[in-house]
Amino acid sequence: MFWQRKGGGWNPYFAGALTGLLALGSAVATTKVMGKTAYLGASTTFVRAAGLVERQFLPERVEKNAYFQKEKVKVDWQFMLVCGIFVGALIGALTGRDFDLEGVPPLWRERFGPRVWKRAVGGFAGGVVAMFGARLADGCPSGHGLSGAMQLSVSGLVAMVCFFAGGVFVAKYLDRVRR
């Protein structure tokens, strides 16, 4: 059928269009339930989660930090949204027989070999830099890319161009290293 993709899963145009409809439904539902429209996003939750973890060890530091005060360290709508992503993806993977234990992705293996520790270092460092950048930009591909671009926000459109520009540059470099 038209929504299926060769080799499993759904046609990305179809799944994407449904995600657009979900964004609309979510905008209306959050306005009704919370009295204020909330848009799909993910990266602020990492700030709150980091604050929740850090609070176990350095409670005063978290309390005094201006950024944690600004973003408020608590479990909110978006925090549950990110938890939901895990549950939904798990359901999708199990029902589609798509669950795949992967320690080193194929493309990474081709470039850096099969060692897990190398992928761990690369993934960790990439995660640190990506999240630092996302917080500086005040959004990630969900908040800026999907929600911002959909609203025709200047920040969302510019951010998306920058995300790709930075990524393409590094990906090209890594590709050269391999050859």
């Binding site: 995600t19 657009g20 964004a23 973890v53 993806a89 995660g127 930009a137 200047v154 790709f164």
Partner: protein, 175 residues
């Protein structure tokens, strides 16, 4: 239904669609940056096209309020480029890292831990950044139509046209 339940339900649907769309893979994300597998672009643009028309109609009907993030030049450009650099190594953005872990791609855990550390580091650096990079120039919460002085529908038409060209290119190249 309270806001936490709503968030969880919305997230489940979002995660399910991300999984079905096949975007929770390192190879697909980095593949797009190499212009070899444009799955995530097709997924993202399709969502944006549908969403842009819908949000415009809903906001004109007064059912929702648009909420633009501030166009802070230093923050968005420097932060955006930094994000891109990290993304190419991580292979996941924050939302897809969580989804990828659920799909069994356990190396996403390293990325998630890195992201939590990155968030904590940003919180430490925030007072400094606020006085420097974030203080360069803030254009405020601006939208493209108002900035250009045109109708939102004109912008949406251009967006659809641009996406159509991208889609045709992707299918023509078979990526």
């Amino acid at each position: 239904m309270n806001e936490l339940v709503l968030g969880l339900v919305t997230g489940c649907l979002f995660g399910f669609l991300l999984q079905k769309g096949g975007v929770l893979r390192f190879d697909r994300q980095v593949g797009a940056l190499l212009f070899r597998d444009m799955t995530i672009i097709k997924f993202m643009f399709s969502a944006i096209l549908v969403g842009s028309v819908g949000l415009q109609l809903l906001s004109e009907a007064g059912l929702i309020a648009l909420s633009h993030k501030p166009m802070n030049a230093g923050g968005v450009v420097v932060g955006g480029l930094l994000f891109g650099v990290g993304w190419a190594f991580a292979g996941f953005c924050p939302g897809t890292a969580v989804g990828a872990l659920a799909e069994g791609r356990w190396h996403a855990l390293f990325v998630i831990v890195g992201m939590l550390v990155g968030a904590a580091l940003f919180a430490e650096a925030y007072p400094f950044l606020k006085e420097t990079v974030l203080a360069w120039k803030d254009f405020g919460r601006i939208a493209l139509p108002q900035t250009l002085g045109v109708s939102p529908w004109h912008c949406i038409a251009v967006l659809w046209g641009f996406a159509a060209v991208c889609f045709v290119w992707c299918e023509f190249k078979g990526v």
